[in-house]
Symmetry: C2
Amino acid sequence: MNFDDLLHDPGEWLNSAPTAHPVVISSRVRLARNLVNHPFPGWAKKAERIEVLHRIKPALLSLPALEHSFGSDMNELSPVQKQILVERHLISVEHAGKGVGSAVAINAPATISIMVNEEDHLRMQALRPGFDLDSAFDAISLVDDQLDAQLEFAFDSDIGFLTACPTNVGTGMRASAMLHLPGLVLADQINQIIQSVNKIGLAVRGIHGEGTEALGNLFQISNQTTLGESEYDILRRLKEIIHTVIKHEHNARRKLVSEKLATLRDQVGRAYGILCHSWSISSKEALNLLSLIKLGLDLGAFPKEFRREVDALMTTSQPAHLQKLTDEKLAADERDRLRAFIIREKLKSFPSPDTSSFGEEQAASA
Amino acid sequence: MNFDDLLHDPGEWLNSAPTAHPVVISSRVRLARNLVNHPFPGWAKKAERIEVLHRIKPALLSLPALEHSFGSDMNELSPVQKQILVERHLISVEHAGKGVGSAVAINAPATISIMVNEEDHLRMQALRPGFDLDSAFDAISLVDDQLDAQLEFAFDSDIGFLTACPTNVGTGMRASAMLHLPGLVLADQINQIIQSVNKIGLAVRGIHGEGTEALGNLFQISNQTTLGESEYDILRRLKEIIHTVIKHEHNARRKLVSEKLATLRDQVGRAYGILCHSWSISSKEALNLLSLIKLGLDLGAFPKEFRREVDALMTTSQPAHLQKLTDEKLAADERDRLRAFIIREKLKSFPSPDTSSFGEEQAASA
């Protein structure tokens, strides 16, 4: 499978059905693993990293989940290709900076992705659309078991899996869900929610993980601790909190409908008006406005069959995805114009938002 | 003629033809006059102001220009009515604050308006659509002559007409033109132009005169000095400068079309998108966006027959005009919603902006 085949489809986890979860975009579980007797990638010499990659590759190729998959050494990917994988959440920002001795393997539906020699020898993740952490965990556990049978992982019977960074030691697991929280943002309650979630030991981050900005009202909630708790306990606690945040988001949306209907209609209407008629738009503004269209969809302002298009635009309007459309190297302002064009063309098929139904829709779903 | 008749029509000077001047919205000449042997309004006691008003009224009633006119003592107008007259540039902001002893008379087409006991005993102005200072001057001079025949004006043969404020002494004339300068604003050249105009002794102000903000890219250019120069010289100098500013505005627009076409299309497109789909909009934002629609019209993005509607919206979307539509007292947020509704409804008849023709249109008119 080559790179373009991988991109042909937005990936199963991005391919949201009209019945997609209105708050949780996707669920993800990643495991960090390292081989015994090999230095962590950050300490290893180039030759040592290459040796580790050579040991891991045959094991990856034997995985049933990776049949007909896409695989590449990082030095063989162009900067644009790397950035596209980042924009699709298939590799980390850090991994995009890697070259010789690092690699990535991604299964055909783009639901499993394995980074070799990122911060650890192995960073493997499973992605699922909607709120489905259990199935993501099951999928990546299967991969973990199959690799464990062929590779010897660094493991301490007292503390668990050993990792390059102490924050991953133990389970080596980071489970996360990407939540779309426009209600909490518009109602100005998001910071309060973030603080509460942080207080109980979970992390809230922007769309590309640690240290990134919250764009498009998208927030990742994940476990912070990997030590002293079983995978099941971590997942149970995380799911509980996510359920609570979902409830708060629904409450915030209901409250906006009942108390700030004009503001809500105004926000959705303006987002639609700007996206239909702008000739230049930054990736950041596009994400923020598409988020409002998505909220409008959830509240019944657009027919449900348009959800897929909006979700796809949130990815395809990202810089590297735009760059991929043309052979010439685009400057930032050229990308902004191309982005505006693509969004305008897509939104041509959308009807004007019918925000008159906000009240009833919300009442029906309440 | 009652107040509502006056409002029925936007007033001849606002009733822009499809062939209206693309830069100069309106021209205005006002004269300040005072009766001899009566203290200026600011120093006068209430009884003295009433006496002046009683002396002036019969003279006004005899004016042929004011036949079938609207006239009222200021204390008989409601705050909303006063504010509407301000929004139509028929009285000054200061005059709206006046009560017993002050009055206003406005001819039926709303092209002549006379304030009694504003800062001076008489402030009379003639308004004209487009760039037509001469005809405005002729109209108000005729009124001046006819009043002069009945009232004795305070006049000094050395310095000219005496006025309450020294800045008006001499001719007592302030001639001004309202210019729509979106090109200079978008090209970031407006401050430079303002400074140059100021340097040669003319004033540039916002849409409601002295000390007001420049909204909707509208600027008033007027003479500063009234002493030592004849009316004709003042007008000649003012017209010269306005011609120069018009040329700069056209150059700026041409340059935007040739060098920043995407920005221009983006600005006009977004303005249209927001005005068509917002559910709440402030008077300030509405004016600024309508200004961009107006620029779009000038450049051929909309059929010329829509000009009248855009120009009318710039006035009818002002706070007091909105308040007039309903019997209930509107809060600011209610006005913002009503304004958005009215603009949305009006723009429904507009086609989407066809900015693809910007290049050719401009080339054709260049």
